[in-house]
């Protein structure tokens, strides 16, 4: 349960990072708050748009999906089902691979680093690691064979 809670919190942070970049890409607000980084270079590059949609939008959708799945997995009825952990690992893996591709573009094609993108990369990597660890954690056993033996009436 703790792992799913951690994933939900991380996804919430990632969601707002992606939301900020997406709203900026839509022309809302002033320049990106980026310090001395190259956020505007990255955002103005041809790679900032994929299939006609700002890349940040895919981040919003991805983090929202992870958040929703994590919250659904926190329902009491779902706590004992390991399939939710597998689904979270799958979503996080897609996110990590997409982020790795974007980071490659920043470093070797655009030659500029967007601090918000780095922040998002850290968040999705953390989600992925927590999701992987959750797979290895011992599941709560509910089958009768694993239940503790009933107290001995003769005792």
């Amino acid at each position: 349960m703790r792992y799913r809670q951690a994933i939900a919190l991380l996804a919430l942070v990632g969601l707002f990072v992606a939301l900020y970049l997406w709203l900026h890409a839509l022309g809302l607000g002033g320049p990106l708050k980026c310090g001395t980084g190259g956020c505007d270079t990255v955002q103005a590059s041809q790679y900032a748009v994929l299939f006609g949609v700002p890349v940040a939008f895919y981040g919003v959708v991805g983090y929202l999906a992870i958040l929703v799945v994590a919250l659904v997995a926190l329902r009491p009825a779902a706590l004992l089902e390991p399939k939710w952990n597998q689904l979270l690992v799958g979503l996080a893996t897609v996110g990590v691979l997409f982020t790795a591709y974007l980071t490659y573009l920043e470093l070797f094609v655009i030659h500029a680093i967007c601090r918000w993108c780095v922040g998002s990369a850290v968040v999705i990597t953390a989600v992925w690691i927590v999701a992987l660890v959750s797979l290895r954690s011992p599941a709560i056993r509910t089958d009768p064979a694993a239940s503790p033996p009933p107290p001995d009436p003769r005792a």
């Binding site: 919190l9 707002f16 939301l19 505007d40 103005a44």
Partner: protein, 232 residues
């Protein structure tokens, strides 16, 4: 469990306020002095940065607008070949003059960024940055932060660049160039002149078109006398 949802909601509220605050603050932006037309115009004697040898027989002057997508396309696609075949071979000296179009919001600002780069001896590096990263011209958003990034990439001293942009130091020079273009009946960008005579192409010219023009001029007329330094 309930405590977790309270924490989650609290974090969501804090993040939402932070996002809203960051979107609402403008964080500076393009200085008015470098963005608008100056109230007065003076001739400082500057006639544009140029590429090529001073004794090149042909001088081609290009009136350009940095926000113009056709100018960017021409610079990115055609200029490398023109440099290789015509400028580096000593046949052509290529001069850049500003002609900011009134319908482009950041034309003067981008021209000013290039002039401020020129003050540091990096006009051509900044020109390349502005044209090779031309997506800024299609977003309609304030490009001042991006231009600082580009200036940094072009190797500029950012403190001097910031001061130059804030003062609008070359706004009059840019306006002088535009008025000069008006007098020469420039009515769009890019517009080209070869040894002072306007070139009329039926479409965006290619490097082959310029090669044909240059070959034609060289074949028909004696070389131009030596007058100017190689690059200013």
């Amino acid at each position: 469990m309930n405590r977790f949802y309270v924490v989650l909601a609290g974090v969501a509220v804090v993040l939402a306020i932070g996002t809203f605050t960051m979107l609402k603050s403008d964080g500076g932006g393009a200085s008015a002095a470098a963005t608008g037309a100056p109230p007065t115009v003076v001739d400082d004697g500057f006639r544009g940065y140029s590429l090529g040898q001073g004794d090149a027989p042909i001088e081609i002057t290009e009136y350009l607008d940095f926000e113009c997508p056709v100018c960017a396309s021409f610079d990115v696609i055609q200029m490398p070949t023109i440099k290789e075949q015509l400028i580096n071979t000593g046949k052509v000296r290529w001069r850049y003059r500003d002609y900011p179009l009134p319908n482009h919001r950041y034309s003067r600002f981008s021209a000013h960024a290039a002039q401020c780069a020129g003050a540091q001896g990096r006009f051509f590096e900044m020109l390349d940055q502005l044209f090779h990263n031309h997506q800024w011209a299609q977003t309609g958003k304030d490009p001042s932060r991006l231009f600082r990034d580009l200036a940094k990439t072009a190797g500029l001293d950012l403190n001097a660049y910031d001061q130059c942009m804030e003062e609008g130091r070359y706004a009059q020079r840019i306006e002088f160039s535009r008025q000069e273009g008006d007098q020469l009946l420039v009515n769009g960008t890019p517009t080209f002149f070869a040894n002072g005579k306007q070139l009329n192409f039926r479409r965006l010219p290619t490097s082959d078109d310029f090669k044909a023009v240059v070959d034609s001029i060289i074949a028909q007329s004696p070389p131009k006398p030596r007058t100017a330094p190689a690059r200013n």
